[in-house]
């Protein structure tokens, strides 16, 4: 993972092996920005380098996945924290450039069987590909064999056109589609087969809304195949594959063993003879009613309250079970019970829609989505909001859903939605966070490949904590981070904090956000977090960052009472900042034992000062005693000399 910048910034050498030329941008491959890359070792092979942004959370599984009908991900490398995927070149142009007209046997041998095998293998690994669309399928020159672009390089189904998505995810915005099921892939495959058989895309030229409307009116198979010359042998297969009810679609196993003109039977959808009018639209099926209920909730709730819906279901469609369930659902239209957490009207509509179409995604807060896709929706709303209010809305939905999972549980939603909600709330419980912090952390927690979404560094796609540390180290100058902002909000913004905390939590470091709650200033909490991340992920020095923090930490040194130890620690801070190890850097200041010792010594010093002061004050009192003592010792001395003189005299007298 050596990231060595080549001499000019237009080339990038990763893993000391692959040279990516950023100048030669290739057409997007698999939905990612793509560049040409060259293996610098002897082989000299040419590759495509993909720069995925927010790939599938299960990318690691996709990277190990190999199948002849999907272009493999050769290797993945991080360069300055950004993920790069290296894939071999596709065998030829994509189907988006030229569909061609395929015969039934070509389709069966070149598309259906291999793809059925692929889907079967994916299903065994409980993965879905959700990327079967013309621009992601490549066909070799002169061959009638199709391969799929690399799997998992974008969020599931994010780049899928509405045409290629079953109704259960086509109604959602791209980011809200979720992982889906193998049935969704079968549907997409059916659309591709149809397009190849026809030589053109069905419903060409219609807007997404019109396509949806038409599909809801007469059912997807009819809408796609009406007035088209579909080969007779494929008609029953396609009708089954394009069925709106996922239960009617064949399984990959059925397709692997397919033979020409194999007949599939589909339980026909019986539309009502007398349509139900909602918002000026005539509705013939419960599925269509569910969709229109989402578009016209007010009208729909009025119909529910007047029991029009249940009567219509009962009389026209003879769906007595569904009718009674709807009846029950509308019975909860009671006068609002004061301070209920869940808006009853919205919950009733959500419930009614799930009864009308159990395969439909969740309708809540005015949008269609799969609960599992909420983190991805949040990412999308942060990076590219559709409306200015997008982010707030998704946040509210997510925090409400993880906080009130039991409210949704009691609404008897379809099992797939319930499972996803349970998984979400379980993940939230594991994170042990609350409020905005929890919501912010959610996407990072669910997807370890997600880059840091901070506005400052979202463009460089940093998805490794060490990458973020290094990036920060080079972007902490005064021009990037003015002093007042640093003092007010610290080194990191909220997204960076969530990103690092999520990665630390993944490594088993206990949530560091506690330090913020402990009342530390923001920048100090950030430094603590950065130090922990540095210790855990990367030992590269962060000296710029540390040097930026030196003045702030020096202010913290005021806690030390001793002047010399302040000075010593200041010197040590400077040295630690140069070395760039944030751990020792912080430990210089954040040293409770040292501080306690210092304070004890300070108290001792204060006691000593007052003691000495007292000694000075008492000095005059001792003067008299001193004088007496001086006189005594003086006289003692005189006595001694006197004795000496007397002895000398005696000696002179008698011995001389």
């Amino acid at each position: 993972m050596a990231d060595i910048q080549a001499d000019n910034s237009q080339e990038l050498l990763i893993a000391e092996r692959y040279l990516i030329s950023l100048e030669h941008k290739q057409p997007d491959f698999g939905g990612c920005a793509t560049y040409g890359a060259q293996d610098m070792t002897a082989s000299g092979a040419s590759y495509l380098a993909l720069a995925p942004f927010a790939p599938s959370p299960r990318l690691s599984e996709f990277m190990l996945f190999r199948h002849e009908s999907a272009i493999p991900i050769q290797t993945h490398e991080y360069c300055q924290g950004a993920l790069w995927l290296l894939c071999p070149h596709p065998p030829g142009p994509s189907l988006a450039e030229n569909l061609g007209l395929w015969t039934e046997s070509q389709l069966i041998d070149g598309v259906i069987r291999p793809f059925a095998g692929l889907l079967q293998k994916l299903e065994a690994a409980s993965l879905t590909c959700r990327s079967i669309r013309p621009d992601n399928m490549f066909v070799g020159q002169g061959l009638h064999k199709v391969v799929l672009g690399p799997l998992g390089v974008t969020a599931p189904a994010e780049k899928q056109p509405v045409l290629f998505e079953p109704l259960s995810s086509a109604v959602c915005r791209p980011s809200a589609r979720g992982e889906g099921t193998t049935g969704c892939d079968i549907f997409s495959l059916g659309v591709i087969i149809l397009a190849l058989a026809l030589g053109k895309l069905p419903l060409e030229g219609l807007s997404d809304a019109d396509i949806l409307k038409r599909r809801f009116e007469i059912g997807t198979p009819a809408a796609y195949m009406q007035d088209q010359k579909v080969p007779v042998g494929l008609r029953s297969l396609l009708t089954a594959m394009l069925a709106d009810d996922p239960l009617n679609r064949p399984s990959p196993r059925d397709l692997v063993t397919i033979a020409p003109s194999k007949v599939f039977t589909v339980r026909p959808v019986v539309p009502a003879r007398i349509p139900l009018m909602i918002g000026g639209n005539a509705v013939h099926t419960p599925q269509a009613l569910a969709w229109y209920a989402g578009r016209y909730p007010a009208e729909f709730s009025a119909l529910l309250q007047r029991k029009v819906v249940s009567n219509w279901l009962h009389r026209e469609l003879e769906l007595s079970v569904m009718s009674s369930l709807i009846e029950q659902a509308s019975a909860s239209f009671l006068p609002a019970g004061g301070s209920k957490a869940v808006d009853p009207a919205t919950m009733v509509i959500t419930h009614a829609i799930s009864v009308l179409d159990p395969a439909a995604p969740m309708f809540w807060g005015g949008i269609w989505f799969w609960p599992e896709a909420l983190p991805q929706m949040l990412v999308q709303a942060i990076v590219q909001p559709v409306t200015p209010d997008d982010e707030r809305m998704v946040r509210n939905i997510l925090s409400f859903m993880v906080g009130n999972a039991e409210a949704f549980m009691s609404a008897h939603l379809p099992s797939r939605q319930e499972r996803q909600i349970t998984a979400l709330s379980a993940a939230a419980r594991r994170m042990a966070l609350k409020g905005a912090e929890l919501v912010r952390r959610f996407p990072y927690e669910r997807n370890s490949y997600l880059p840091c979404l901070s506005k400052k560094c979202v463009d460089v796609r940093i998805s490794l904590p060490e990458g973020l540390l290094r990036w920060l180290n080079h972007h902490v100058g005064i021009e990037d981070l003015p002093d007042d902002i640093l003092a007010r909000s610290g080194f990191l913004d909220e997204q960076m904090r969530s990103f690092l905390e999520a990665h630390c939590a993944r490594q088993g470091i206990i949530p560091l956000s506690q330090s913020k709650k402990a009342g530390l200033p923001g920048w100090l909490a950030d430094l603590t977090l950065l130090a922990a991340a540095q210790r855990k992920f990367d030992n590269a020095p962060l000296s710029f960052l540390a040097q930026r923090a030196v003045p702030l930490l020096e202010a913290e040194l005021r806690q030390w009472r001793s002047k010399t130890s302040r000075a010593r620690r200041r010197v040590r801070l400077g040295k630690a900042a140069e070395n760039g190890n944030l751990g020792t850097f912080l430990a210089t200041v954040n040293d409770p034992t040292g501080l306690r010792l210092d304070q004890r010594q300070a108290q001792e010093a204060e006691a000593e000062i007052s003691n000495l002061m007292r000694v000075l004050d008492e000095a005059p009192d001792r003067k008299a005693a001193n004088d007496r003592e001086a006189r005594n010792s003086g006289e003692f001395f005189s006595l001694l000399t006197g004795i000496a003189v007397a002895m000398a005299s005696i000696w002179l007298e008698f011995c001389q």
Partner: protein, 156 residues
Amino acid sequence: MASARSVGAETLRAPGFRWWHGIVIGLMLSYVPGSLLVAGVLLLPMVALRLFDPNADGQRLMIVLFYVGAVMVRPLHEAWAANGDWETCIAQITQPVTLALDWLAAGAAWLVAEASAIGGRLWNAEVARRERKSIEKRIAYLQDEWLSSDEGVPAS
């Protein structure tokens, strides 16, 4: 020294003569009146000191006694050698050099005692001054070390 002080206090109260002092002096008066005369004359400066210096306590007298004793050695020796001959004793106490030495010795003793007392006092004052200075220095150091802030110290 404590004993010297207590002796001094005793002599202040009374001359401190006991009954046996009288017997000793009486015996000497009858056997060696010459020597006693010499001793008595030579001890006169002490009596004078006792009378004129109110500060002269037993200790001071003891000091003077040693100095005066040093001068007394020769005349007493002479008197002893002459077997207490009255003439010799008179000659001894009339010798002006001896008398002058005797008074000078008393004066010197007094001077030495006073001077050394003053010297001791000065020495003590010097010691106290030095001690005070070092205490003040220590206080200044402690205050600078523990009670100062880093205002104005340039960031390293």
